[in-house]
Symmetry: C2
Subunit: 766 residues, 2 copies
């Protein structure tokens, strides 16, 4: 097998030095000449009419440059459902509703001005429970929103999401065992260490530049362009997004937010650069968390443990506005239809407006919720069938070549190997079933591993150029928000070109410079941006070998590059440093410097009208296992050992891969055990790290072991599949299953707090 | 003829708004976090031994972060002759010699620290006249510099420049008329409105970024890379040059300067970004002016006025170090060999070290000096031959198809048209020869118009990409230092692509992003960068038409794009907006976004060992004419009318072209009449705009008329040739000739001051 120089190596992150020494420039650090500071006034009620807004005192405050309300801005609408506006008029629908905004010469003056704005409200009845909100007579969040069916006003969104494959009723009849459960998951938030923010600036031709922490620069660009159109600035105005260092995103920076449009409006009004950066409190209550869900699920199996059907219905709290949270059902379909071989599936989700906060993407995007339900219930079903849950999983594990009920084409699949590895590492056969306060549990995942055609394009472009010294510049559409994609793409380009990763400078931060990319989501960057970068590098390499063939007197196909040396494969004594060949080609009449570009869009399908189709080139699988200790007196859960096995295709950088898995597992443990954004009648009660409990270094289990299963996907760059999100997907059910194994109680609601365990233990004793 | 949408249009400069409103970011405006400020201590003597440098008091000053001298820096050498170092040790050779440098937390502290450095000197005999410096026993500027011939120490540089074609002695014998003159020109400086400066910063891997006002980013990059090597940082360190807005360059920012290396060394020592920006005084005495020359010239002609020979020898004051000034003879050869048809030519230049300032490039680069001599003397010779000097010029004018004694291949040539146009506009036949205090004069020029292969590569690269909305990004190697190349390149790309210039964003400021370009010099940018941009745009267009052919059901070759619409040339009703086609191609499985790159290097030759060869693809010609009034009492010269006729190939942007010509003419008038950097025993006596007299708005002649001769060069982008420098080349001789016509005195030394005219008038009366 080929020995790689850059691939499969534990190369430190490209930006590690800068971040560790404080040199990296975050949005917090950035200051433009003449820049103003913006602040936002939020609603005082979860649901109320706005009777009057008096901004006169704020406007008179020295240092204030602009005060905006919903009554003096152009009609910009945004969000998946176009039901959101930058500043609200007539009524507010949640506590995070933006009512007014100020730009001033300092953040302090802006804050003071915000306090001087007087808003008169008439409170309205509010609804915070999606099941309540679905009832007739419930307060209407958007009065003009009507059902497509009966044209009556409703809080239930008109969304087409629904998946049916096979015949559930028939399958029920043919099942030896059936279990039915209701699971609940609540809001959790991303907890990015750098809060959100942006700077907007117009040039003198009204072209807009936004310095942003977005993970989707090209999507934001398009939406801001629409906003400029709504502002009456015409279609030709250009929007440039410049990304600063991103201190975590995890999906939170996928959709655009009101604060961004507010910043743009303030910049337009003042003709100055304007910056809005969230406080930690705003980050907690005014960004969009993972969507909560009420999940009713039934699964059945044959006598010998073969899954027969899976039937899921779900109620999703949409909050007051519609961001990407409402689209999570399209991804929920993936584990529901395709985690394990299950011939008949049905999924009926409903998204319901409430006066709560609204949700959007968060790592795993719609898979952690159903996977918690499915995998908790797999244990339940296995128990009913009298089969060891690991055996049950192996029996039903996906296999290469399979086509799932949602028409996913499984190419490589290492699920069985993952299950077996976890079993072995946990000493499953010995430890399982003691019910002595210690227990083991496992759960698996399926995820897209080769992009995901959720938009019409799933593409990414790359430009590669190489200088006279063999230094390589790579312009990629990809966004490194901390996950390390810059490093991985550099490794891919360096390997393809036969140079070293330190020879590569990666440029990823400017829509004007970087080719288009749909964004960093769906764990697609290593696969899609990686393939794009590899193909651009290959074009560069072909040109170099063509140039070298003349001076080395060999056919290009007999040449290769390794460690900065071009050599003949037939006669390795024929060789030359790459820089020498490049300079010779350059320093001559009609000379040439080598550059190339490539746009890669994977050969996949959008889901069809039935929400079926092969929307990723390949799928990734994994199994996590835990050993826990449960204190029956306190209800406290201690994770003693954590094993994460992933089919990654190929580990481009095992160190970064492990980092992704560690980070995912810890985030998953928070989801399972400690994290919840507490909303009390729509109001976030714990908008800080004291009251919102993420796991810190001292909470990490003593052992987190990663098992890397390399299935060498033939479509992936050097065989790799995506691995950004999977790390947290099966954590919660693995822990829930281990708790059940330890103490015999099954907690069906996240987070699994000591109180919930104690209550369940009490129930058990009855 | 094709009607262009963008070419030939008077489109305002791309950066006009930003510059007019103060939004453009010059090096003066730029501040990096933690940045320190550097200052330089210069020599107190024109020639002296350094006995001792005591920096202890400076080092102790609070706020000082580093003090460097020639004794604590690594051995970096630079300049054309590698005879310069960042900070001098052992001895100083001119007043501008850098002796020590400081980095401190404020410019004021740095300045104070500079004053605290004590240097003990032992003054040495100095020499300021190059003719003196050539004599045996003259003080030696570089003791270790020896003649290649006799190995004896000498101040005469070992340079191979020499051009001989034909037989001068034979030609002399065959001449009916011969004239011999000595002309002298002195130092003039560029007077950039933004003074020079840079910021250097090392990253944590010792890669270097320099924020710079260079007009040759890729050459500076290479030299700084050599410096890093000399600093022991290895070969793999990357150097990135980021250009700020450049407030004029005119050649002054072609070579690297000691201050840049000093900034780099201070940044390396302090591990902080360090900025050095010149004061106006430093800009005058520590940047490198146009080289002075003593020119001995003889020309002859036949009885009927055909030039027979041109014989030039020249002494060039090299100053104490060797920058590009020493290479000007390679360009002086151009007018000497090829302005007018002259069958026999000889040129023997000598560059001589003195204790004066040293020179480098300035607009016209070696052509204004000999053109002053040649064209003043053409009038002299015509008079001897009894032929009207305009007729004389027409008789000898270059013609298309000619190959000159230096082996230049003249393709397009509008010289005769230019001469005739100037004659007509000046009413030459009527006004000439009155000698009544008013006079007319003219002079012509030849210049490279299609690049100039002075380096091994004369290339420039371009990358073009187009987004879903038809917005085009162009990354060019070209440098816009105020001349408007961004606008011209945008016009070329827009025209080629069938969009509008406002659809184009031009990116030209970063070596990491922009493809390689040899630099903005030799009036090559419109031609070379323009061709490169056009070819990249053409590749983009081909891809777009290929994509459109499917949806419009036409062959790509039957399609074209005009004003953002793709249409069928056969059936204009078949059409689609460009954005629609691009989005359709993009938003699909296996989709594509369009990008392309091109590296253009013209098909030219380096000059051979005899300094002959076709080193430009095409040549540009022009004639300037003036009408002057000379006050015989005061010697004052008033330019009443100025006519500038240029063969430009094709005017891409007539407004910017006129701007170049106006600017050139005014700069040329300064060279002719008012400007001189006065050196008194090596010391610049007038380092400010009060004592150094550039022409201002009130000095501009009432009429400057431009005549654009379009010869539609077939190699140029849309027919264009370069026009950056020519505008000032013939000004001085045109004025000198007009003065002679007005009052009968020929001033052979620049500038033509009232004193010199009065003295000559006095001589005349004798």
């Amino acid at each position: 097998m080929e020995e790689y120089i850059n691939i499969g190596k534990r190369i430190p992150k490209a930006d590690a030095f800068e971040k560790a020494t404080g040199k990296a420039i975050y949005i917090q650090d950035l200051k433009l000449p003449g820049m103003l500071y913006g602040k936002i006034l939020y609603s005082k009620h979860p649901h109320a009419r706005i009777l009057k807004i008096d901004t006169t005192r704020a406007e008179k405050l020295p240092g204030v440059r602009a005060v905006l309300t919903g009554y003096n801005i152009p009609p910009i609408r945004f969000g998946f459902y176009k039901d959101n506006v930058p500043l609200k008029r007539d009524k507010v629908r949640s506590y995070r509703d933006e009512v007014a905004a100020v730009a001033a010469i300092s953040p302090e003056i802006a804050e003071e001005a915000i306090d001087l704005i007087e808003v008169e409200y008439e409170p309205l009845p509010a609804v915070f429970d999606p099941e309540e909100a679905m009832k007739e007579g419930a307060p209407l969040i958007h009065e003009d929103h009507v059902s497509l069916k009966d044209k009556k006003p409703t809080n239930v969104l008109n969304l087409p999401w629904k998946l049916v494959s096979g015949d559930i009723e028939e399958a029920r009849r043919n099942s030896a065992h059936i279990v039915e459960d209701r699971f609940k998951v609540t809001w959790v938030t991303h907890c990015c260490l750098s809060t959100s923010g942006c700077i907007a600036e117009f040039d003198l031709r009204n072209n807009l530049t936004v310095y942003s922490t977005t993970q989707c620069a090209n999507l934001a660009q398009r939406e801001f362009k629409d906003a400029l159109k709504a502002m009456g600035l015409g279609e030709e105005r250009n929007v440039r997004i410049i990304k600063t260092t991103i201190g975590g995103a995890f999906g939170s920076k996928l959709d655009t937010y009101p604060f961004e449009y507010i910043t743009i409006l303030l910049a337009y009004k003042t003709r100055k650069p304007v910056k809005i950066v969230f406080s930690r409190e705003e980050e907690f209550f005014a960004t969009s968390p993972r969507q909560p869900a009420i999940i009713d699920i039934a699964q059945g199996c044959t006598r010998d443990g073969k899954l027969t059907f899976r039937d899921v219905s779900m109620i999703l709290d949409n909050g007051a506005y519609t961001s990407w949270g409402a689209t999570t059902p399209t991804v929920m379909m993936m584990p529901i239809s395709s985690l394990y071989k299950v011939p008949n599936v049905r999924f009926i989700p409903r998204c319901v407006y409430t006066n709560n906060t609204y949700s959007q993407a968060m790592r795993g995007y719609g898979t952690p919720q159903p996977t918690f339900a499915i995998e908790s219930q797999i244990d339940h079903l296995a128990e009913e069938a009298g089969i060891d849950p690991m055996e049950f999983r192996l029996l039903n594990a996906n296999q290469p070549g399979e086509i799932t009920p949602q028409k996913f084409k499984i190419s490589t699949c290492g699920l069985s190997e993952c299950i077996e590895a976890v079993g072995e590492k946990l000493n499953w056969k010995i430890k399982r079933g003691q019910r002595n306060g210690r227990g083991v549990g496992m759960a698996s995942l399926i995820h897209v591993g080769g992009g995901a055609r959720v938009y019409k394009s799933d593409g990414c472009g790359t430009i590669v150029k190489i200088d006279d010294f063999g230094h390589v510049d790579v312009f990629t559409g990809a966004t490194d928000m901390g996950q390390g994609s810059d490093t991985v793409i550099s490794q891919i380009v360096a390997e393809e070109l036969g140079v070293r990763v330190e020879d590569v400078t990666l440029i990823n931060n400017d829509t004007e410079i970087c080719p288009w990319d749909v964004s960093s989501h769906a764990s697609r960057t290593t696969f899609v941006a990686g393939n794009s970068a590899r193909m651009a590098a290959r074009k560069v390499k072909e040109q170099i070998l063509e140039l070298a063939s003349k001076s080395l007197g060999e056919n290009p196909e007999d040449l290769d590059i390794r460690d900065r040396i071009i050599y003949s494969k037939r006669d390795p004594e024929k060789k030359s440093p790459i820089g020498k060949i490049l300079r010779a080609a350059h320093y001559t009449s009609g000379g040439k410097m080598v550059m190339a570009e490539y746009f890669y869009d994977p050969p996949t399908e959008n889901l069809d009208r039935e929400f079926k189709g092969n929307f990723s080139v390949t799928y990734t699988f994994g199994t996590h296992g835990v050993e826990v200790e449960v204190d029956k007196e306190t209800g406290e859960v201690k994770v003693l050992k954590y094993v994460a096995a992933h089919d990654v295709g190929k580990a481009i950088n095992p160190m970064l891969l492990e980092g992704q898995v560690y980070g995912g597992a810890v985030m998953g443990m928070g989801y399972a055990l400690t994290e919840r954004l507490i909303l009390d009648k729509g109001k976030v009660k714990n908008p800080n790290f004291l009251d919102y409990k993420i796991l810190t270094a001292k909470d990490i289990p003593p052992v987190i072991e990663t098992v890397v299963v390399e299935t060498e996907d033939k479509e992936g760059p050097f065989g790799a599949k995506g691995i950004g999100e999977p790390g947290l997907v099966p954590t919660a059910p693995a822990i829930a299953n281990a708790i059940y194994d330890a103490v015999g109680v099954r907690i069906k609601e996240l987070p699994i707090t000591p109180e919930r365990i104690l209550r369940a233990l009490k129930e058990l004793k009855k």
